[in-house]
Amino acid sequence: MSAEGRGAPTGPPHGAESLRRALGLRTVVSTSTGLAFAALEYLAAAGLVAYVAGDSAWIPIGVAGLLALLAWGFFGELNGMFPTAAAIRLYMKRSMDDRAALTITFTYMTTIVLVIAADAFIVGSALAHAFGEPAWVSGLWIVGLLGLAVLSNLRGVRVAGGVQDLATYVVLAATLVVGVTALARNHHGLRFPLDPIHGRSTGDLIEAVALGVFLYSAFEWVTTSAEEVRRPHHIHRGMLISIGILFVVCSLVTVAMSHVLSHHQLISAYPQLDLGSAAMGQAGLWLMAGVTAVTALNTFNGGFITASRFVYGTAREGSLPRQLALLNDRAVPWVPVLALGVLSLVVALVVAVTGSWQVLVAVGAALEAMIYAVAAFCTLRLRARAPHHERPFRLRGAPVLAVVGLVVFSLLAVVASVSVNSKLNPVPLIIIVCCGALSASYVLGVLPRVRSAEEARRAAAPRRRPARPPAGPPGPGA
């Protein structure tokens, strides 16, 4: 698969090159990688081990990486066509019925709640374990972490690009060092490194690939920064580099986990701490506890901003109740931020009580596969509906690849939604169906009333702009 630049403009379409502050490629890569590499990544990596033989997890991760490349092609083309934070609304609205587009978008947004909740739970559990506190204390950590995230968001605090770069690269480097050290200190050879289905079925491998896709998920969220980049091609180049980095780091950490951790450690809520401990003793445990906490910085910063601003924009557009567009004195949409905090807290506490984080992983994996299938569909549909639209990044072979992507990602979404810990489990599917049904009932039942009320309000407001004086009769020389 390849992509070609055709008709690529020499500069950004809207002159972002001249901005006083613009994001460079380094920050695009760190944002894309940082959003994907949440704390949940460690648990998903440990969970993936259960589906394949020995130390061969890098194979499904590699296959998932190839599929992520396919998704990269779709998002690269769509982002090039609509280089804006509102891109998902624009390309979906132009590819399908707006009600279907909104239903899918709202359902997809639940991924952000899940990832924030999961990270709060994982960081809370990791800190409680590192400090030797009883498990229930993790609940206090969760409340504290999410409270801090909500408060800093309400105050308009945003992690600067440089800090985000540093945080992401430190997390990746530390994870690599711990993974390599753990492998080096274990003197046994790798088990079945090239035979993932040894004693397993092909179905297990497919499930492993579905879970592997989740390891790359959210790399595409960086497209919401399209208006801030110095050059438009930084977005698709950055995403490509990010996929490469994710493949290397995730493969290494997963193989290290499968090689040195016991089954009991793999299914715990903090396998990365045990890996750190296996690599460097107590120092490694504390290093990984610190790294886990730092991953939350990216998740909370990116997740809260992306979701709350999307809800604000949709409310301002008239597709959500106007109360969701209320701003505080720091111009922060405080209702979506609070709602996101409360929802994430509830989900995180439910996970802490039930210990069902692998269900979150399955739901996240299925929703990501679903949105990749939707991106494939939009790419295909827009090739037909808007063939002459400028495409600075054009996916070569898109008609075929989009059909392949649509089929494969739809299949993976179904597989991921009915399997937890390599066992048949319909709970993720039930959660997704419930979220989809809620979104659909809002779009079909409530939205028409919201839009009518908004139209009536606007119609009742007097027009302020003075009417233009009528044009005079043409002069004699006309």
Binding site: A16, T84, A86, R158, E227, E228, Y312, R465
Partner: protein
């Protein structure tokens, strides 16, 4: 198409409302920015600056290095400055495009909303 005079008149109203609005001045505290407007239909450029919580007069042409670039039709800008148009709607439909940091884009939308008491009660 709106003329330069029409745009200047509309902006003057926007500026007056914004600078007279105590809440809005609070919202732009510490937010000193240069904003360039470019009209797609007339090809004109304008510059506004926010400094020390006050919106400057509209300068014709692009002056200084911008923090945000807003591109749209002269009619849309005119309607937006008069408070008759919700810029978010045009932005979400792709008719107004922006370049700049998301938080800066939010502030501009906040100005257009709060200046005309469009804030939901």
């Amino acid at each position: 198409m709106a003329s330069v005079e029409e745009l200047a008149e509309a902006y003057a109203e926007w500026r007056r409302r914004s600078n007279d609005n105590a809440r809005l001045r609070k919202m732009v505290r510490g937010w000193d920015r240069v904003i360039h407007f470019t009209t797609t239909d007339t090809g004109a450029g304008f510059t506004m600056e926010v400094r020390d919580q006050v919106l400057s007069e509209l300068a014709v042409g692009h002056v200084g290095q911008p923090d945000v670039i807003v591109t749209g039709s002269s009619e849309d800008f005119c309607d937006m400055f008069w408070g008759d148009l919700n810029p978010s709607e045009k932005y979400m439909s792709g008719e107004i495009t922006l370049a700049g940091a998301q938080q800066d884009v939010m502030r501009i939308d906040a100005i257009s909303m709060v200046a005309f008491l469009d804030q939901p009660q």
